[in-house]
């Protein structure tokens, strides 16, 4: 589909001074043939990252079939952005959608105000917005995520395809074993199938899941690993509501980073659960005898224990929500079991690389000056009907729900007394998980999304550093956010 991109072309020509654009991003993302209206990878250079992002409904090719999706610059996922601590970032967002949108720089520790990570900005259809911010010089390295955050259209726009990866390169990338690893972005997104999604019980109430499971905008793409080498996967869950529970055949994951950056030491995992908005970086060792290995998405019931078995069925139906052929698919037994989402093949070989023994310090936060409680649930509210609630209140624009003091450390007790899982996300400042149901977390890590399972109480600790202003916390099942499960946080000087 031809795209009106005259302003973008001019901007991209102008990029050369401020950033280098590379089609090599296609390789990093594993794209075979991007239907690009611009480079699929933009790296900062000379301390600047400057570019245009056009949000539009465009034609894409998924599983060799054309379809429409919401994209940035015609790409799904959007272009891969790469920056370094201290960089100045300028992104001109152009809204070619029929509803308002904006941008959230999920996980970045930057100002929530002005033209930075300000989720209260609204970019009308046809309008543009320039985002301007600088990454702090001590910003952690990690895998971050940009996506729309305009309340009222965020869930539909993310479900429709919008989102992309933003990498900050820093100390973690300079650890020799990590540096030697082959790098691969894994952007997880389920897209709506044809037809009438939601009709089979997987509506907004449970959170919409798409029938088509994609990795980097492809169905079951090929990934490669050199024999003897390390493969570093930067994994982002860019879904509206789907939880991805990943396992790689015969290869454990060695977790080296969570949402907010590096762990202190790698943690070996047989599988990795990522709720919407969560990220992880893992190292995979190429220690098998060649061959092909499936990256599997395992079933996950987004609720409490065996009682939620029906959710598994519902997930299955979610796979084929279309009225036509899709529905038959959804009944396949495969949807109750593992689904291959990518295939890893051995290609070439390198001298055997060890795993890093130590990564980076994760400094514990001091004792909190205050503890707050956030109760997550849903219910019928007077005059509102069915809504999702935090502390009994549905989101209301302009109402400040939580006031905190810049520099304070607080502990937040997140209580889910409902029957659905809720991944809780806080903007601007990362947090550390202290305990789940009273059990101390087994290792320290920086997070910005934490899964609070049905019936679970999770304690997190955070410090409000560097930036004042208004921002939000919310359930990252974006349907639940739209339906009220969000609060406004004021960080006061």
């Amino acid at each position: 589909m031809a795209m009106d991109f005259h302003f973008g072309r001019r901007s991209f020509l102008g990029l050369a001074a401020g950033a280098s654009a590379s089609v090599a991003g296609a390789a990093l993302l594993g794209r075979s043939a991007p239907m690009a209206s611009g480079p699929s990878r933009v790296r900062s250079s000379g301390g600047r990252l400057e570019m245009d992002l056009v949000a539009a409904e465009t034609a894409v090719t998924i599983a060799n079939a054309p379809r429409m999706a919401l994209t940035y610059n015609g790409l799904l996922p959007g272009p891969l952005l790469e920056a370094e601590p201290g960089d100045a970032v300028r992104i001109r967002l152009h809204n070619r959608l029929n509803r308002p949108t904006n941008l959230h720089y999920h996980g970045l520790h930057i100002s929530p105000s002005g033209n930075a990570d300000n989720v209260f900005l609204s970019v009308a259809p046809g309008a543009s917005q320039t985002y301007d911010f600088s990454l702090p010089a001590d910003h952690p390295a990690g895998t971050f995520y940009y996506h729309p955050h305009r309340h009222g259209s965020v869930a539909d726009q993310v479900f429709g395809g919008l989102g992309g990866v933003l990498i900050v390169r820093g100390a973690l990338d300079r650890i020799p074993e990590v540096q030697a690893a082959q790098e691969q972005v894994v952007f997880l997104k389920d897209l709506p199938g044809d037809g009438d999604f939601g009709s089979m019980g997987m509506g907004m109430m449970l959170g919409r899941e798409g029938a088509v499971l994609t990795v980097n905008g492809q169905v079951n793409p090929a990934l490669s690993i050199p024999a003897g080498g390390l493969l570093r996967l930067r994994i982002v869950n860019g879904s509206n509501a789907r939880f991805w529970r990943l396992a790689l055949e015969d290869h454990p994951f060695n977790l080296i980073a969570t949402d907010g950056g590096a762990l202190e030491t790698p943690v070996q995992l047989d599988e990795l659960l990522l709720a919407p908005g969560e990220r992880a970086e893992v190292l995979v060792r190429g220690d098998q005898q060649g061959g092909r290995y499936r990256l599997l998405n395992l079933p996950y019931a987004r609720g409490s224990g065996g009682m939620m078995g029906g959710m598994g069925r519902s997930r299955g139906m979610g796979m084929g929500m279309g009225m036509g052929r899709g529905m038959g698919m959804g009944r396949g037994s495969a949807q109750q079991g593992p689904v291959p989402v990518a295939t890893l093949a051995y290609e070439g070989s390198v001298a055997t690389l060890p795993l890093p023994e130590r990564l980076l310090p994760v400094v514990p936060l001091p004792e909190p000056v205050r503890t707050r409680r956030f109760l997550l649930n849903h219910g019928m509210a007077p005059g509102m009907g069915m809504v999702f609630l935090i502390n009994g209140r549905a989101y209301e624009h302009g109402r400040i729900d939580t006031r905190v003091q810049l520099g304070d450390t607080e502990e937040w007790e997140l209580v889910n007394d409902g029957v659905m899982d809720h991944p809780f996300h806080v903007h601007v400042n990362p947090f550390q998980v202290i305990s789940r149901n009273g059990t101390p977390e087994s290792y320290r890590a920086w997070k910005d999304v934490v899964l609070v399972r049905a019936g679970e109480t999770v304690r997190i600790r955070t410090r409000f550093d560097d930036f004042t202003g208004l921002t939000v916390y919310h359930c990252h099942i974006l349907d639940h956010e739209e339906l009220g499960m969000m609060g406004t946080l004021e960080i006061a000087a």
């Binding site: 019980g201 009225m323 069915m386």
Partner: protein
């Protein structure tokens, strides 16, 4: 109120539709969903409960005989504090049905015994004129069922779509499909409601 369309799906014309037997069968796992949905509606509701706003009945709007509805008794089964179930029953009362309301703990067993396909499960189950009505089925679809009297076991709206009767929300409404299902557990679209 939400716009309702008449029959949008024709049971015979979609060449892509798989044979019904591929969808058939009662799935216990699916029925667990019903339990979940029932609990979902209970959890955290307390005494909060939004009364649906008064509005002209569908029977009035569509010039149906109200007495047609009045002659029908709905026997409903729901869990104790399911707010959206009560909302659906209020909707039926407003449409002229008489309602016998059973609060039960064994909702899943009731669904099994009434032959509700697991994939169509919702938070409440009812019977009416020899048919089973599962979930937030709008009165207009029930009127159509009673007019046409098809050879089906009943109607169902799976899940809890926003904007369906009893699931009204100031924030959203969703398109949804009312399915008819048969005794062997197969089902097919019967009525479509646009958001």
């Amino acid at each position: 109120m939400i716009g309702m369309s008449g029959v949008m799906f024709n049971q015979k014309i979609d060449p892509n539709r798989p044979p019904q037997h591929r969808w058939s069968g009662v799935h216990r796992r699916g029925l667990l969903l019903a339990t979940v949905l029932a609990v979902m509606t209970v959890a955290g509701l307390g005494t909060w409960y939004a009364q649906p706003t008064a509005r002209p009945s569908i029977a009035e709007q569509t010039n149906l005989s109200v007495s047609e509805g009045k002659s029908q008794q709905v026997t409903a089964y729901r869990s104790a504090s399911c707010g959206c179930c009560k909302g659906w029953l209020d909707h039926l009362r407003a449409e002229g049905f008489s309602v016998v309301n059973h609060v039960v703990e064994n909702l899943e067993e009731i669904k099994v015994s009434h032959g509700v396909p697991g994939d169509l499960a919702s938070c409440h189950t009812a019977t009416l004129a020899g048919y089973v009505i599962e979930g937030h089925v709008p009165a207009e679809a029930i009127h159509q069922l009673l007019r046409q009297r098809p050879a089906v076991a009943g109607l169902a709206v799976p899940g809890m779509p926003f904007g369906s009767p009893g699931m009204e929300s100031a924030l959203r409404s969703e398109s949804y499909t009312v399915f008819s299902f048969t005794r062997d557990g197969s089902f097919t679209p019967f009525f479509h409601v646009k958001a």
